[in-house]
Symmetry: C3
Subunit: 366 residues, 3 copies
């Protein structure tokens, strides 16, 4: 790896927090896969190899130490010390965190900032706020107004909003804002049946409430856990939504995107207000992160691609993602220089944009 990529400071524009307690081997393994129940040894994957390669030395073990040794050493050091070491080794200088998923199991944002020794800003998960509102005793006919008001408060210090429409329904919904009457009717139905927010009208309504905030609006797209139908989470299905939001100025940020990142890159090229990342993939795919970055950069304007880890639960995932990104940047952008495709100055400038500069501008970070 060339040294300039090792020195890149990263803004992780989409991640979650880390588990704050000691994990059993099984509990650790569950966080190495998107499967609720792993079908085999979760270490038998490129992510498992990457943890043994990248993280073992940070815990004073040799590279490629066996999983058993790794887990034993991690227990010996304690979760807090392992977390501190792994986050520090990642070279992340700011974290934008979605804390709307299982937040009770994870470090709070202030504690995460302390553990990472880096500022943390919040990305507000729209569906979590909507469910809070629905559980707050408001009447269904007042739901729409109450959600606007609650979001106004919740996003006061946030840097962005996030939608998980892909998980709760899929992108096969009309692209435009639902009417007030539709929302009220759907809210009445939801009040009757209860449970999680899965009604497509209310999901679209929450999404458009996010659009109205004007902050960058992140959408989960591409692969994740089996709650979703992957093909209905293809970001290209958002083309009409991108067309509908283009005049409004709210940035749309497509998260993860894999394996549809070439389609996402097209959206980022043709719509001035669309950004994207290949996070989560960088975490999971090991040395193939280089290939995924190369595919993403085929059509992506250099100013539209962002770095993220989408790490959840394990501090190992921040480090694996950061190392994978550095290697990918060195491979792809360094490859441009080696083959005379671009000057070294160009390559470094583009790497810095993707690593941090694009996110700083997009989210107006200090």
């Amino acid at each position: 790896m060339t040294s300039w990529a090792d020195d890149l400071r990263l803004v992780d524009h989409h991640c979650h927090s880390v588990v704050d307690r000691d994990l059993t081997p099984a509990g650790f393994g569950t966080l190495l896969t998107e499967a609720p129940t792993p079908g085999g040894d979760p270490w038998d994957s490129v992510l498992g190899l990457a943890v043994r390669r990248e993280c073992a030395p940070v815990l004073d073990l040799p590279r490629h130490a066996p999983a058993r040794d790794y887990l034993a050493r991690r227990r010996e050091l304690g979760t807090a010390e392992a977390t501190r070491r792994l986050l520090a080794a990642s070279g992340t200088e700011a974290l934008l965190v979605d804390h709307g998923l299982r937040s009770g199991d994870l470090l709070g944002l202030d504690a995460l900032a302390a553990a990472a020794d880096a500022p943390v800003a919040e990305v507000v998960r729209l569906e979590a706020v909507a469910e809070d509102v629905a559980g707050s005793g408001v009447r269904p006919d007042d739901y729409a107004d109450a959600l606007v008001e609650r979001l106004d408060r919740r996003t006061g210090r946030a840097v962005g909003c996030k939608s998980i429409l892909a998980y709760r329904h899929g992108f096969d919904v009309p692209p435009h804002r639902p009417s007030r009457a539709e929302v009220t009717a759907a809210a009445r139905s939801w009040w009757r049946v209860g449970g999680r927010l899965t009604d497509p009208v209310l999901l679209r309504h929450a999404l458009w409430c996010g659009v109205d905030r004007g902050l960058p609006l992140q959408l989960h797209t591409g692969f994740g856990d089996p709650d979703e139908d992957l093909h209905r989470a293809n970001p290209v299905l958002l083309t009409a939504f991108c067309r509908a939001t283009a005049p409004l100025g709210t940035p749309i940020v497509l998260l993860h995107c894999y394996p549809y990142h070439r389609e996402a890159a097209w959206l980022a090229q043709v719509f001035p207000h669309v950004w994207f990342d290949v996070g989560l993939a960088s975490t999971y795919v090991g040395r193939r992160a280089t290939e995924v970055l190369a595919e993403a950069l085929e059509l992506a304007p250099f100013g539209k691609l962002l770095y993220s880890s989408d790490a959840f639960g394990l501090p190992e995932l921040y480090l694996v993602a950061a190392r994978a990104f550095r290697r990918a940047a060195a491979g792809v952008l360094g490859g441009w220089v080696a083959e005379g495709e671009a000057t070294e100055e160009d390559a470094r400038r583009v790497a810095t944009m993707i690593a941090a500069g694009n996110a700083r501008r997009l989210y107006r970070l200090p």
Copy 2:
């Protein structure tokens, strides 16, 4: 190529049998393409190049011998001798064979085992059994019971079942089991019109009869001949079916998958009961089998990927697929070692799992 990959013994978990007679040049050419009528010289493809490269020396010709020379030498040796040599050179130690397609044109399973000098086990094609039942004089109202009974007999010594729903309709069907009344009504319609099994209710019914057997259930997915609409054969469309079958314990095995193998790998990661292969692609894509394997391993748990050739008709295809797999394993897993991503021990272990171990466990082979 590193020597350890040359030494891998293979279990070909999905293939067909070979033509048992001498072929004309045109007849040979037709088996080099998925086109019923080739649009040009079928040797002008990466598969054609691969046959000239890999198979010519086995028939005592120089590498890259012209097609004409190759066909002449093959005729000179005779089909039996060419078949024996090519199968032996493939290093396959067990073949799981779907004999439900044009079986009259192909060697029987015992003869194939003799030619390959390797044990052969059968995978039962559900639609072929259903058509046998429909042609057996049974009344439509008794079809459902008769199919269960026939499958019970037919699968007694089989190692798996197989569905070609992708060819006969596509995966855009409801994921759940059809009701008895629906099946009977559809059977009555089928009895009236006759012909191949193409009714989507009856195809789903046959699929679920396969699920009920408990044996690994293979599904053709991804590319094949133009009977299918390729996009309706995308394995990701089976997500809801995977969800529906997850509690039942029957392994689901996605065949071929190309060019949707990244989506198949996601299914194999998130569902404990899903396996897949990139066979057929390995056969067809030449040296790019390395890239296809690399893509498949981005998300695939190492225990969930299988080797297959999907060879049909030509013994050349078994050898081409086997060589392509060895090169791909050496390239991808050897690449891990070269770049420090994994130890050599890890790489060899994973190669052995994909080559044979995963199939041995999945199909409970001796």
Copy 3:
């Protein structure tokens, strides 16, 4: 790059013409992206890097000259001289031109031939002819006959027809020819509302009028500007249309295809009358054109892949595409030779087929 690829003479089987006036920096930038309004500096893309790398030396500047210097030098030389130099450097020996898009802003075909010092032949855009007919004072009930008659005249000296169904609607239409009654009813509606041709019945009708001409019928597929829904422009959605046209003899030519070129390659393998290219992608994706070509050749018969630039407006795009193709051919086919996959003779023959021979045969060029 190996010298044989530098010497390949190219037939560009699908391109447009060039702007005939001096461009402002912003006007130049707009032609470097598929976005109507660029979201950032359009030079910050692999296409921008490629222009600086490939074109700067042709205008007497050092490789990688900054955009500002490049634009200043181009203005100094004048559009005509820059155009002449860039087209000459591309090594294109024939251009097949779709002149149906913004032709008023572009050089006429004779002037283009003079500037390129190469013969130009026309590809007739079906929708442009249909709109001419609708604007000609004909009655809607006579539209169908008038379109046939007009196409008969317009294609008299043309080498092909082209459909932009993907832009105007998407491929989610019935594959068969609409009835006369449907066409007349749709024409009556169009006459009432006016505007561009977007009615799916009339678009299908125009497409089938193209089929009836018997000339190769090009279809825009894959990425382009945001008028289209990319996923509805996936060439694989044309499978049923390919099946419907297979008996008729009219060649179907899938343009661009990216990022669905693996699916297009499958269509080209299984249907004798289907051809395709990865133009536009070659222009846009920089050094990754090598990877895109490699992916296209996984399933494509060598006789079915064509070279094109899809250049529009800027002569730079012809040169960038030509250089990208030469590098890709050297990388992919040269790689075959280096790894013993094919002989050098085979590799050169295949390169020549894709560069020019396939197009010469398909379009019956002199």
